[in-house]
């Protein structure tokens, strides 16, 4: 029976792979470990179910067990998601739960893969659970039932010792996935190998952004690259000569947003990545930061700032943003240029200054 369920799991994977395969640009053989561990997880599930069913032989056991299982699978990730939204990183023991919690918590990105240690710990834990299930199912005496719990307890203890303290430490960047795929001709535009299909879509707006930056600012960047950093693994250093950009992709691997929206994203903060700790900063501080970045992009593009850098680009921006833009445009031309350049320097240096103050306040360029 366990074999049948494992075959079912593998069958589901094969069907999914059939859909994804033709669109994929990167397939590391190591990712099959993740599938293998998932398939293995079916064995303890079946054997534990057998054990519980044999100990509680009632017609009510199967439905109650099924509903309890679904409730646990659906609710546990939500609770973890809740914990991580308040800035936390879920504990590593999350990996003992049979749900892809990490994917739901935002910790996981397509550029990460599990470490060998994570795989081994999960295999150990699943094997311990399977042993307990089988031993409990075949146990003939009360004492044997109690003894059957021993492997699970031991496995849990070992797994807790082996797992990292924080969930993010269970994953590493997949060097193959983040390997750059670039345009052959200058100016260079690069995406990760994972998103190789999006290069054609990014090239246009990326070169437009570089042209705008070099026309309007003194020291302009010369290339564009995809940013693969994630909330808990912000590892890609930002350099002055490269504009880093994050973009959403469709199921087919193309960019999800139209070119002019990608242009706004590229030029936000005059081509810089926001240097602000979203979890630590005050809401008002965050609003000022992103307002200033948006005004800088609007100045570079020469259009009034849209409402929301991530939302509807056709609605007008809020009053404060428009006011800041008007103030900036009211300054002498050289002053405008100096202030946007100063904003770019400050964001690149990550010096924590108030960007809106640099742009339109007393701060000015220094």
């Amino acid at each position: 029976m366990a074999l049948a369920v494992v075959m079912g799991y593998v069958g589901m994977f094969a069907v999914g792979a059939g859909y994804v395969g033709p669109l994929a640009s990167y397939f590391p053989i190591g990712s099959m470990w993740i599938v293998a561990v998932g398939a293995l997880s079916m064995v303890p599930a079946v054997w534990l179910g057998l054990a519980i069913g044999s100990r509680l032989p009632s017609a009510l056991t199967p439905p109650v067990l099924a509903i309890a299982g679904v409730a646990a699978l659906l609710v546990a990730p939500e609770m973890l998601f809740h914990a991580s939204q308040s800035g936390g990183d879920p504990p590593g023991t999350t990996l003992l739960l049979p749900s892809v919690a990490a994917a739901r918590t935002g910790t996981m990105t397509e550029f990460l893969t599990a470490t060998a240690r994570t795989h081994l710990t999960q295999v150990l834990w699943l094997a311990a659970l399977a042993t307990t299930g089988l031993a409990c199912f075949t146990a003939a005496s009360r004492r044997a039932v109690v003894a059957a719990f021993l492997p699970a307890v031991l496995g849990a203890a070992l797994a807790v010792l082996l797992l990292p303290g924080r969930l993010s430490a269970a994953y590493v960047l997949d060097q193959g996935a983040i390997a750059p795929v670039c345009t052959a001709d200058a100016p260079k535009v690069c995406v990760t190998r994972t998103h190789a299909a999006a290069l054609d879509d990014l090239r246009g707006p990326a070169r437009q952004a570089l042209a705008v930056l070099s026309a309007k600012l003194p020291t302009a960047p010369t290339s564009v690259a995809e940013d693969y950093g994630s909330t808990h693994l912000d590892v890609q250093p930002q350099r002055a000569h490269t504009v880093l950009v994050t973009f959403r992709v469709t199921d087919a691997g193309r960019t999800a947003d139209p070119p002019h929206e990608i242009l706004w994203d590229l030029l936000a903060g005059a081509g810089t990545r926001p240097c602000v700790d979203v979890n630590q900063a005050q809401l008002e501080q965050l609003a000022r930061h992103f307002r200033a970045r948006l005004v800088a992009a609007a100045w570079l593009i020469g259009q009034p700032p849209p409402a929301d850098p991530d939302g509807n680009k056709d609605r007008p921006a809020d009053h404060e943003t428009l006011q800041a833009w008007e103030t900036l445009r009211g300054l002498p031309a050289t002053e405008q240029r100096a202030r946007v350049a100063a904003l770019r320097r400050s964001e690149l240096a990550c010096d924590g200054r108030d960007l809106l103050d640099i742009l339109v306040g007393q701060g000015g360029p220094r």
Binding site: S58, A59, L60, P62, P63, V64, A66, I67, A68, V70, A71, L74, V75, E78, M79, H82
Partner: protein
Amino acid sequence: MRWLALYLRSRSAPAAVAAVLGTTAALWSLRHAIDEPQPRGILALLAFLAGAAAIAPGLAGADIDLDRTAAIAWPPRRAAHVIVAGAAVIGILAATALTGDPLAHAGPIARAITGMGGLVALGAATLGASHAWLPPATWTLLVLPLTPPFGTAPTGPTYELMLTWVIQPAGTTPATVTAVILGAAGTLTYAVFGTRR
């Protein structure tokens, strides 16, 4: 009265009532501890499913052949069994309103149990009482991943609303119609044919 008590005992009604009370209490307290609407909606749905599934084992006695030797009119009794059992489950689920944080209003609970109870009765007639919980569970769990945020207005063509009736908000006519059809079809089929041997 003594016959009724014996009948209820032979269909293990006490265990079923205990199961409904237990699952409802457990899922209610989980739901009570969570703020987000999505898992709250799913947990309420699972409580309905557990309530409907608890009806299933009681749809057959210990010995089906022995039951049928009784020279009484089974069809109205079978229909009454399904209807009373459904009403009891609706009552228990709706009683969560006494806590101040009800699983749902009485209307959606009645719709869910009517439809799911009908599926359980259909399942008993086709698969047997011990597997009768599978049709409503399969339907609900297949639809769950498609769940839009709970509370959003229903969209899509009528047949889609009917197929996803379990997750549609209260007052969605195609969903109510589906539940009533399932309830009527299930009760009738079970009343006429009884449990599968």
